[in-house]
C-alpha cells in the first residue's frame, strides 16, 4: 500500500466501515481520485478532498441503536439492513424446510422411529454451527483479536450458537415430550396449549441456529478477502 492509498485507508477507517467493504470503497476512492487528478490536473490532496465531499452524505454518522450502539454511517446502515434481511429470509426458509421434513417424517414413521429421527435432526441443528465454530476457530478468533474493528458485517452472530447451547440443554432434557407433542399434533391426535408453545419454540430454535450458521458461512467467505489487509490493522490483543 503506497502513502496515498494509506491516507485513504486511514480516512475510511475513521468512518468505521467493515474492513471487507472498506477494501472495495478504498479502490473506488483511488480510481475516483486518479480520474479527478487527470481531468482537473490537480494534486492528490485536492482530488482526495473532492472525493471526500462526493461521499460526504454517505459517511454522515448517525446514532441508531437498532443497528449499532456506536455511531454508524448511513452507508453502513444501508448495507447492514440488506445483509440482515437477506440472512433472515434464508434462515426462515431453512426453518420452514426442516419443519416440513419433520412433518413428512411423522406421517412416514411410527411414533418411536419419529422420535429418533427428530432427535437426530435436532442434534444436527445444534451441532452444525458449533462444529463449524470449532473447525475454523483460528479464523473466528480474529474477531476477538481485532475487536477494535469490524472485520465483516457477519461477525456479530457467529458465536451466538454457543449462547444458545444452554437453552438447548433444557430442550434436550425434554425432547421425548417435544417429540410426542409434535407427532400427536401432526396426526391431529391433540391440539392444546403445548402445541401453541412447542411449535413456535422449535421453529425459533431452528431459525436462530440457521441464522448463526449462515452468518458463520458468510464470515468465513469474507474473512479470506480481509486477511491480507490485517497487517494494516492494530490488533487489540
Amino acid at each position: 500500500m503506497n502513502s496515498n492509498e494509506k491516507k485513504v485507508w486511514d480516512y475510511l477507517l475513521l468512518k468505521k466501515l467493515p474492513i471487507d467493504v472498506l477494501i472495495e470503497v478504498q479502490d473506488h476512492f483511488m480510481s475516483q481520485i486518479t480520474d479527478l487528478q487527470k481531468k482537473r490536473n490537480v494534486v492528490f490532496e485536492s482530488a482526495f478532498e473532492e472525493a471526500k465531499n462526493i461521499w460526504k452524505p454517505e459517511f454522515k454518522m448517525i446514532y441508531n441503536p437498532s443497528y449499532s450502539l456506536d455511531d454508524i454511517s448511513i452507508l453502513n446502515k444501508k448495507l447492514i439492513y440488506n445483509e440482515s434481511v437477506n440472512t433472515f429470509k434464508q434462515s426462515l426458509l431453512i426453518g420452514f424446510v426442516i419443519l416440513l421434513i419433520i412433518a413428512i417424517f411423522s406421517f412416514i414413521f411410527t411414533a418411536e422411529f419419529f422420535f429418533y429421527t427428530f432427535l437426530l435432526i435436532s442434534v444436527c441443528i445444534v451441532l452444525f454451527p458449533v462444529i463449524q465454530l470449532f473447525v475454523y476457530r483460528k479464523k473466528f478468533k480474529l474477531i476477538k483479536k481485532y475487536d477494535n474493528y469490524r472485520l465483516t458485517f457477519h461477525q456479530n452472530f457467529v458465536n451466538f450458537s454457543l449462547v444458545l447451547l444452554g437453552g438447548f440443554v433444557q430442550f434436550f432434557m425434554n425432547i421425548k415430550a417435544f417429540s410426542n407433542v409434535l407427532y400427536s399434533s401432526f396426526h391431529f391426535l391433540r391440539i392444546d396449549l403445548y402445541d401453541f408453545i412447542s411449535w413456535p419454540l422449535y421453529f425459533a430454535l431452528i431459525t436462530i441456529n440457521a441464522y448463526c450458521f449462515i452468518n458463520q458461512k458468510k464470515y468465513l467467505r469474507q474473512i479470506g478477502k480481509v486477511e491480507p489487509y490485517l497487517r494494516y490493522l492494530k490488533a487489540s490483543s
Partner: protein, 83 residues
C-alpha cells in the same frame, strides 16, 4: 465491471444525465449479489484488490425479461403520446 467503472459508464452512456451516487451503488450491488443476480470476483490491479461484478445466468434471464418489459412500456408510452 467494478463499482467506480459502473458509475462512469452510466454517466458516459447517458451524457451525464444519469449519475449514480456511490452510496446507492454499493448497497444495491450487495443486494443483487445476495439475490444471486450478480456474482463477484476479486482481481489484483495495481497492487490493489479490485472487486469485479458479473451477471449470473439468473441475472442474464432477468435482464432480458426486464429489457423486454421496458421496451414494451416505452413503445406503449410512445403510441399514447403520438395519438
Amino acid at each position: 465491471m467494478y463499482g467506480y467503472q459502473m458509475t462512469q459508464r452510466a454517466k458516459e452512456l447517458t451524457d451525464g444525465e444519469l449519475e449514480m451516487t456511490e452510496g446507492a451503488l454499493y448497497p444495491l450491488l450487495h443486494k443483487l449479489e445476495n439475490d444471486g443476480i450478480i456474482t463477484s470476483e476479486t482481481q489484483e490491479v495495481n497492487g490493489r484488490n479490485r472487486k469485479y461484478y458479473l451477471l449470473t445466468q439468473k441475472g442474464k434471464k432477468q435482464q432480458a425479461a426486464q429489457e423486454a418489459e421496458m421496451k414494451t412500456y416505452l413503445f406503449n408510452l410512445n403510441t399514447i403520446f403520438n395519438i
